[in-house]
């Protein structure tokens, strides 16, 4: 009897429930705004609007926390981390002709689902300083969460593409509407730089993705379906794999972002509100790495092996060059944005080694970067909320006034550098170990990046935190309050625990990564064996 209940519980569409839960909250907020009391002129009174704003904040918090609870429940109750294939699979007919609505998770995606639901409430909490158009803001974040969860859960290429591209829309609006002030001259026309950043973000990623769309269509025709597990088991001809791989690369390389198509990222980060930066760095970038692991490696193994040196080269350039660029930045957010590009370089390098250490290291690095870079952007947000500038030179000697903040910032700076004991170290170490197996020179150049990351991160820390407190504006600056402390501590806990004891996460990755590697090597062996 109990078994039956358990079985019927497990067969419910949990992933769809989780994915679409935030949208329900968004609908609630929209409904409240629509039903607002209006005066004769059709305008909403200030106190009524204030009430709606509070409702919007609370509903958003409630639903993001709810989604987190549901995801943890799904993980604990139904997820079997010893099983390598897709779990919690649900399927419904949709377009016909091989396209259906299909969801499921495996060891590669489940932790990103959890990361997303974990980061989201933090983003909502970090949005306290947002003052205008709060209901719309909260709706955008809730829709964003649905779209991101959809990306990680989708088991059909068309469904994946819908969610993947759909996530551009809310991010575009978040950067453009709630981004920072300032203008930029472009071709003689003065335009707000947040608009420039938003449009650049949109068009860059859109261009990358439409090429992937054509590849998806080709694969659909070849295999007769867009079912991801089926496609992963399909052997595409070696000649076609090259083109398909490049098309997918165009999309994921922009998303990741890899050098030289990373230039949208610093703009987007600088202009986005704090929570937007957090979500961008912690989750959106991971969609690129996830895409490489879900599609490029399993579906086009031959092309992946062929293009691996190309990826290594781009990754090394990303690691070394963007680290050098980060050294020269005057803007804190830009510095962290460039350091993100460098850290993503480790991920791509690790993934395409095709070794267990490399791939697990890449996955771990993405996870850890989610906590650490998210936290660093929150740290910058803490300062920005108080002083309203991101210029490094505007700060100095903060340790005298903000000891608690100094400790937190130091911890995450060390995490960014990759100090042993913090999760950043594990990811960098594993990816370099993977790269070393392939070619020791790659690991050598990547190690230069580690040194450089110490240089720029410590420079940032020294200039902001140490020295004498000479700037008058900074004299009255307050230390982190309870809300900020709680957010940062939550992230610190994960970064620390995973840094000291990474096994739980690696154990979740392992079965799916093993399966991926065995399929990958089998595909390569079959080519090598052929005359």
């Amino acid at each position: 009897m109990n078994d039956m209940i358990a079985e019927s519980l497990a067969s419910q569409p949990w992933l769809s429930l989780l994915t679409f839960l935030p949208v329900i909250g968004a609908f609630g907020i929209a409904l409240r705004q629509m039903l607002a009391k209006r005066d004769a002129k059709g305008e909403i009174a200030a106190d009524e609007q204030a009430q709606i704003d509070t409702v919007a904040r609370n509903v958003a918090m409630l639903f993001t926390l709810g989604a987190f609870a549901v995801s943890v429940f799904i993980y604990v109750a139904f997820y079997d981390s010893s099983f390598a294939g897709y779990q919690l699979v649900e399927e419904a007919t949709w377009l016909g002709g091989g396209v259906s609505y299909k969801m499921g998770v495996d060891g590669i995606s489940i932790l990103f689902v959890l990361l997303t639901t974990f980061i989201m409430p933090i983003c909502i909490a970090a949005s306290k300083s947002i003052e205008k158009r709060i209901p719309e803001y909260m709706i955008a974040f809730l829709i964003m969460e649905t779209l991101i969860l959809g990306v990680f859960c989708a088991l059909d290429l068309i469904v994946f593409y819908l969610f993947f591209e759909g996530s551009l829309i809310p991010m575009f609006l978040i950067i453009g509407v709630w981004g920072s002030k300032g203008t930029k001259a472009l071709g003689g026309v003065e335009m707000p730089s947040r608009v420039y950043a938003a449009v650049k973000f949109f068009l860059y990623t859109f261009l990358g993705s439409v090429l992937m769309l054509v590849a998806i269509v080709w694969m659909w025709r070849f295999a007769g379906t867009t079912d991801i597990p089926t496609l992963q088991a399909t052997a595409f001809p070696a000649g076609a794999q090259k083109w398909l791989w490049l098309a997918f690369f165009a999309s994921f390389a922009v998303k990741m972002p890899m050098w030289p198509v990373h230039t949208w990222l610093p703009d987007a980060h600088v202009q986005a509100p704090t929570a937007g930066s957090v979500i961008l760095a912690a989750i959106l970038l991971k969609m690129g790495g996830y895409g490489f692991l879900r599609f490029s490696l399993p579906m086009f193994p031959i092309a992946s092996a062929d293009f691996a040196p190309f990826i290594y080269a781009l990754s090394i350039v990303a690691i070394v060059y963007t680290s050098l660029v980060a050294l020269a930045q005057e803007d804190m957010k830009k510095l962290i944005a460039y350091s993100s590009v460098a850290h993503m370089g480790f991920v791509t390098m690790g993934i395409f080694t095709g070794t267990k250490q490399g791939i697990e290291g890449g996955l771990f690095q993405m996870l850890s970067h989610g906590f650490i870079s998210g936290a660093l952007f929150l740290c910058v947000g803490v300062l920005y909320d108080r002083i309203h500038t991101r210029e490094i030179s505007a700060y100095g000697g903060l340790v005298h006034r903000m000891p608690f903040y100094a400790f937190l910032f130091l911890f995450f700076t060390m995490g960014n550098v990759g100090l042993p004991g913090v999760s950043g170290f594990i990811g960098e170490f594993l990816t370099m170990a993977g790269a070393f197996k392939v070619n020791s020179w790659i690991a050598f150049f990547a190690a230069i990046g580690v040194i450089l990351s110490a240089a720029y991160a410590l420079r940032l820390y020294r200039q902001v935190m140490y020295g004498d407190l000479t700037k008058t504006k900074l004299l009255a600056i307050a230390d982190v309050d309870a809300r900020e402390g709680a957010m940062l501590f939550a992230l610190l806990a994960f970064a620390l625990v995973l840094g000291v004891y990474p096994k739980p996460a690696l154990d979740v990755f392992a079965p799916s990564v093993d399966l991926l590697i065995s399929n990958f090597s089998a595909a390569l062996a079959s080519v090598a064996g052929a005359p």
């Binding site: 059709g42 949709w94 377009l95 593409y161 591209e165 759909g166 609006l173 608009v195 949109f202 439409v210």
Partner: protein, 479 residues
């Protein structure tokens, strides 16, 4: 087939023709006071014809008048769309025409007669029948373009449309006569039998002229020059009508006139269509960027969309035509919605057409801004809106037919065209507000706009499966 049977299958056209005449007579007797009544009756007439089309569909294909007209799943599918969008055109015009002192009873009657012409175009299975349909439609459209006869812009639009339309009709006729000269018949199936095997150069030249004439009608580049001026000059509800129903009918006719008579020489006409397609997408994408008038922008946007639809036609097979039908269905829903929004751009003192007037619309009228944003994202083909599926299926058809390059070009140009849709969206969301428009909660226009936005996302998204099945079945009846 007996005469009474023939009449039975043409009931929709008879309803439109007889009803249109009756309304014209009624209008003459009742005068302009009756324009509202005539409008309502015209909508009823169109809906009645639509219901008959639905009731008659489902059987095997019927050849009428010695094979000149064909009633099949394809014609039924397109007629439903054409008649529905004509009805919406009348529905959306009322308020505007009354406001501009244009409330004359001829307006709805002209739309009914144009719908009759389109209905003939969709069913035409013979070059002469095709020409008859085109002319029936065009004569009504010329008058509609110049409907605001006291406005210089409107009369100019009408005249331009007439002159260029006559030119395109000439090309069409010339092509038709060449094809007739070399095959000895004007009936599509007979032409197909005559040109089987190797293509006669005379037929190919005739075909080129035929395609040029048809490309004029769908405003595909490089035969698009008339579209922006006519769109801008014609009264806005007329523009809304032009962008929807005639495009559907012309595209339907285009596909049938290529696929039924010339299936054997696909290799000859495919490159022409592919070039038209690329040119239209490029013109649509690049020229729209610099526009400041929203009606002109919509003209270029529709040129671009015709380019995308032509990708499917370039594929030239069953799946390709199916994708054209899916594309046109989605296109017409988006277009009607977008024009409903444009018609809602009304301030005290009249309509406005400047794109800049949409600045900060999210702050002054969130509902309208949201609806327009959804429609614009869909026009740009950004998932998860349904506009994406239109592009997806034409790309699929192109890839299936081995035209991967065309799909790639289309994909890249869709990014370029995304820019100008994004520009409107960022004006609405990011900029400081311009003076507010008049609020019209619950008006016909508002409901039309909201309804099409709801269709675009998410209703059609969920019911995509049945739509695809219907379009594929319709396309299958051509082959």
């Amino acid at each position: 087939m007996s005469f009474s049977e023939t009449l039975f299958w043409t009931i929709p056209e008879l309803v439109l023709a007889v009803g249109g005449m009756a309304l014209l007579i009624a209008g003459v007797f009742l005068g302009d006071r009756s324009s509202r009544l005539i409008s309502t009756l015209s909508i009823c007439l169109l809906l009645a014809a639509l219901l008959v089309v639905v009731a008659l569909q489902g059987g095997p294909a019927q050849n009428l008048f010695g094979g000149s007209f064909r009633i099949d799943a394809y014609s039924s599918f397109m007629k439903v769309l054409v008649l529905a969008s004509a009805a919406f055109a009348i529905l959306m015009s009322d308020k505007y025409l009354a406001g501009e002192q244009l409330g004359r009873f001829e307006y709805p009657v002209l739309i009914v007669l144009a719908a009759l012409g389109m209905s003939l175009m969709v069913s035409a299975n013979d070059l002469i029948a095709l020409y008859m349909g085109v002319e029936t439609q065009s004569l009504a459209l010329y008058i509609l373009a110049a409907f605001n006869r006291d406005s210089r812009r409107s009369t100019e639009a009408g005249l331009k449309y007439f002159v260029l339309g006559a030119l395109s009709s000439c090309l069409l006729l010339y092509g038709a006569s060449l094809v007739y000269g070399f095959t000895g018949t004007t009936q599509f199936d007979a032409i197909a039998r005559a040109v089987s095997g190797e293509a006669n150069i005379g037929v190919v030249i005739g075909l080129v002229f035929l395609i040029s004439g048809l490309a004029f009608k769908v405003s595909a580049a490089p035969f698009h020059m008339w579209a922006p001026d006519v769109y801008e000059g014609a009264p806005t509800p007329v523009t809304a009508f032009f962008a929807a129903a005639p495009k559907l009918a012309a595209m339907a006719m285009f596909a049938r006139a290529l696929v039924t008579p010339f299936p054997e020489i696909v290799a000859d006409w495919r490159p022409i269509i592919a070039v038209l397609s690329v040119a239209s997408m490029a013109v649509g994408a690049f020229s729209a960027i610099a526009q400041s008038n929203i009606k002109r922008l919509m003209a270029y946007s529709s040129i671009g969309h015709m380019g995308f639809a032509l990708i499917g036609l370039a594929a030239g097979d069953e799946r390709g035509v199916g994708s054209v039908l899916i594309y046109m269905t989605i296109y017409v829903v988006m277009t009607i919605g977008a024009f409903a929004c444009i018609l809602l751009m009304r301030r005290r003192g009249g309509m406005t057409e400047a794109i800049d007037d949409l600045s900060g619309l999210t702050k002054t009228n969130m509902g309208l801004a949201l609806i327009l944003s959804i429609l614009l994202f869909s026009l740009a083909g950004v998932p998860p809106t349904v506009g994406f599926f239109g592009k997806l299926f034409v790309f699929q058809a192109a890839v299936d037919a081995g035209l991967v390059w065309l799909a790639i070009v289309g994909a890249v140009l869709s990014v370029v065209s995304a820019f100008y849709y994004l520009r409107i969206i960022w004006l609405m969301w990011f900029n400081e507000p311009a003076p507010a428009f008049e609020r019209e909660v619950g008006s016909r226009l508002g409901l039309t706009a909201a309804g099409s936005a709801a269709l675009v996302f998410p209703i059609m998204l969920i019911f995509m499966g049945p739509l695809i099945a219907a379009a594929r079945a319709a396309a299958a009846s051509l082959f």
